[in-house]
C-alpha cells in the first residue's frame, strides 16, 4: 500500500467541516478574490502536497471548464449591468456583469475545489464511520454506501440488458420516439427484479443484526487527533473574523 500523505490521512469529518465552512464563507463575504486568489490556489497546492494532483486536477477541470465559460458568457456578456468595457456584435462586456460573473464563479469554485479535494482524499466508508460516531443513524450510512456500490453494479446490468435487446432487434438508434421506446425495456426489468429481491435482502440484513438496538462498534479504527479537533475550530474562527472584517464598518468593512 502507498503511504498516505497528510490530507488523505486527516480525519474525514474534519476535512468535510472545513470544506463546508470555506464554502459558506465565500457565499457570505461575496468577494471573488477570496476564491480566486486564496482558496482555489490553496486547494491545488494541498492536492500537490498530497500527491493527488493529477486525478484531482482532471476532476476539477471536468467540473469547471464548460460551466464557467457559460457563466461568463451569460453573466458578463448577455446580462448587461453598468458601463460597457468592450463590445463585439451583440456581446457587451459590462463592469457589473464581469463583477457578477467573477463572484458567482468564485463561490462555486470554492465549493467545487474544496469538496472535490475532500472526496478525492477520503474513503467513503471512513467518512460514514466518522459521521456515525457523531450520532448519524446506521440507516443513513447504509443508504449512502449501498448507493455507491449499487450504481456501478446496476450500470453493468443495464449495459448487458441493452446488448441483449439490440441482439433481439430492439432499436436503440433512430428518431426520438424510437429511442424513447428503447429506454423503457432497458430500465424496467432492472427495476422490477431489484425490487423483487428487496424482501430477501431485508432478511439478509436482519440476519446480521442490522436493526439491533445495541450501539454499533466499528472495525475501521478512526480517531480525530488533538490537532484535527482544534484545526476546525481555528478555521471557523478565522472565517468569522474575515466575515466581520468584511461587514463591520468600524474595522474597515464594506468599503
Amino acid at each position: 500500500m502507498v503511504k498516505k500523505r497528510f490530507i488523505s490521512r486527516m480525519y474525514p469529518l474534519t476535512k468535510l467541516i472545513i470544506a463546508l465552512t470555506l464554502g459558506g464563507t465565500s457565499i457570505i463575504v461575496h468577494q471573488w478574490q477570496f476564491g480566486y486568489l486564496f482558496i482555489m490556489p490553496l486547494m491545488f497546492l494541498l492536492a500537490i502536497l498530497d500527491g493527488k494532483f493529477k486525478s484531482y486536477f482532471k476532476k476539477v477541470f471536468a467540473a469547471i471548464v464548460v460551466f464557467f465559460l457559460f457563466i461568463f458568457l451569460i453573466q458578463a456578456f448577455l446580462v448587461p449591468v453598468g458601463a460597457t468595457i468592450w463590445q463585439w456584435e451583440f456581446l457587451h462586456l459590462t463592469v457589473g456583469g464581469l463583477d457578477k460573473a467573477l463572484n458567482i464563479t468564485a463561490t462555486i469554485g470554492v465549493f467545487l475545489t474544496t469538496l472535490l479535494l475532500v472526496f478525492e482524499t477520503t474513503n467513503m466508508s471512513d467518512l460514514m464511520v466518522s459521521l456515525q460516531k457523531t450520532g448519524m443513524p446506521n440507516g443513513a450510512a447504509y443508504v449512502f454506501l449501498a448507493s455507491i456500490q449499487m450504481i456501478p453494479e446496476m450500470n453493468k446490468r443495464s449495459k448487458v440488458i441493452m446488448q441483449a435487446q439490440r441482439a433481439r432487434g430492439i432499436e436503440t438508434e433512430g428518431n426520438m420516439w424510437v429511442r424513447t421506446k428503447a429506454f423503457f425495456p432497458t430500465l424496467s426489468p432492472l427495476i422490477i427484479s431489484s425490487i423483487t429481491d428487496i424482501g430477501d435482502k431485508a432478511a439478509t440484513l436482519e440476519a446480521r443484526a442490522f436493526s439491533s438496538s445495541i450501539p454499533n462498534t466499528f472495525y475501521r479504527d478512526l480517531h480525530a487527533s488533538f490537532f484535527e479537533k482544534y484545526i476546525t475550530v481555528f478555521v471557523i474562527l478565522l472565517c468569522t473574523l474575515y466575515t466581520l472584517w468584511r461587514y463591520v464598518p468600524a474595522i474597515g468593512g464594506l468599503l
Binding site: A146, A203, S211, I214, T217
Partner: protein, 279 residues
C-alpha cells in the same frame, strides 16, 4: 430437558395467499439436534424457517396463530435485532446475501459483529478465527461483489457463524451451487454439527440429509406428515410418493428386504449398508 425451539398448533396464511400454508403444526426441537425439513416444492419449508426466525410476521405479514417459542419465550414478540445472535439464518440465493456496503470480505464478516456492538479487539479475533475455520483466507481482501456463487455462500455462512448463534437455520444452501461448491458447504455444515449447534436444514440432496441429519420433519398438505429419526423416515418407501427422494442405499435395502430377505433395519448411509450386508 426443555426444548430450544417449539411450535404449538401453528396456523399461517400469507397476507395475499388464498389458502393457508399451515394448519396446525406442532413440534419440539432440543439442543444439539440436527433436524432436516423435507417436503415437496411449495409445501412450506421456507415459510416454516421464516416463522422460526421471526421474519414472519416482522418482514412478511399474514395471519399467524399458535405458539412459536424460543426457550419458552414467544418469537413473534421479540424484535428481529434481539434474535440475531440467537438464531442464525443462511439463505438459498448466494447473490443477494451480502450487506452491499462493505469493501472486503473481512469487513463483510465483521458487519454482524459491528451491529451487535462487539468491541473491536474481540471482533478482529472472531473474524480471524472464523476465516481460519472456514478456510477462506484467500478471500479475505476480495470485494464481496466480485465472488463466485460458491465463494459468496461461504462468506455468507462465515458472516453468520461469526456472530456465534447457538441455533442455525439453513435453507437450501447448495441449490444454486455446482458439485464442488456443494461439497465445500457440507464440509462447513459438518463442522457446525461437530460444534454441537442446533441445526435446522432444508435440503433436497437426500444423501447429505441421510448422512448429517439426526431427525427428519416432513411437511405435506399443510401439516407435518412424518417426524422421526432419519433412519426411521428414510426407510419408508411411501416417503417417495410425497416428493422426497430416498438415498440409493435405502432403495436397495427396501427392495432387498422385500424380495430377498427381510432386514431388521433398512440402511440409509453407505457404511450402514456395508455393515448390514456383511452380516
Amino acid at each position: 430437558m426443555n426444548p430450544v425451539l417449539e411450535m404449538k398448533d401453528v396456523h399461517f396464511k400469507y397476507l395475499i395467499g388464498k389458502e393457508k400454508v399451515f394448519e396446525g403444526i406442532s413440534f419440539k426441537i432440543y439442543k444439539g439436534e440436527f433436524v432436516s425439513i423435507t417436503g415437496r416444492n411449495g409445501s412450506g419449508k421456507t415459510t416454516l424457517c421464516n416463522i422460526l426466525r421471526g421474519f414472519i410476521p416482522h418482514l412478511n405479514q399474514g395471519t399467524l396463530s399458535g405458539d412459536i417459542l424460543l426457550h419458552g419465550e414467544s418469537i413473534p414478540d421479540k424484535s428481529l435485532g434481539e434474535l440475531a445472535d440467537k438464531i442464525g439464518y443462511i439463505f438459498q440465493n448466494p447473490f443477494i446475501q451480502n450487506s452491499g456496503i462493505k469493501e472486503t470480505v473481512y469487513e463483510e464478516i465483521a458487519f454482524g459483529l459491528e451491529n451487535l456492538g462487539i468491541p473491536r479487539e474481540e471482533m478482529i479475533k472472531t473474524v480471524d478465527d472464523t476465516i481460519k475455520l472456514l478456510k477462506i483466507e484467500d478471500l479475505r481482501e476480495k470485494h464481496p461483489a466480485e465472488l463466485s456463487g460458491g465463494q459468496r455462500q461461504r462468506v455468507a455462512i462465515a458472516s453468520i457463524i461469526a456472530m456465534d448463534p447457538p441455533i442455525l437455520i439453513i435453507d437450501e444452501p447448495t441449490s444454486q451451487l455446482d458439485p464442488k461448491g456443494t461439497e465445500e458447504i457440507f464440509e462447513i455444515i459438518k463442522l457446525l454439527k461437530e460444534q454441537k449447534k442446533t441445526i435446522i436444514l432444508v435440503e433436497h440432496k437426500i444423501d447429505q440429509v441421510a448422512e448429517y441429519a439426526s431427525r427428519i420433519i416432513m411437511l405435506e398438505d399443510k401439516k407435518i406428515l412424518f417426524d422421526g429419526t432419519t433412519n426411521e423416515i428414510l426407510s419408508k418407501e411411501e416417503v417417495m410418493t410425497y416428493g422426497t427422494n430416498l438415498p440409493q442405499v435405502a432403495k436397495l435395502g427396501i427392495k432387498y428386504s422385500k424380495e430377498v430377505k427381510k432386514l431388521e433395519k433398512i440402511p440409509t448411509v453407505l457404511e450402514e449398508a456395508v455393515k448390514i450386508f456383511k452380516g
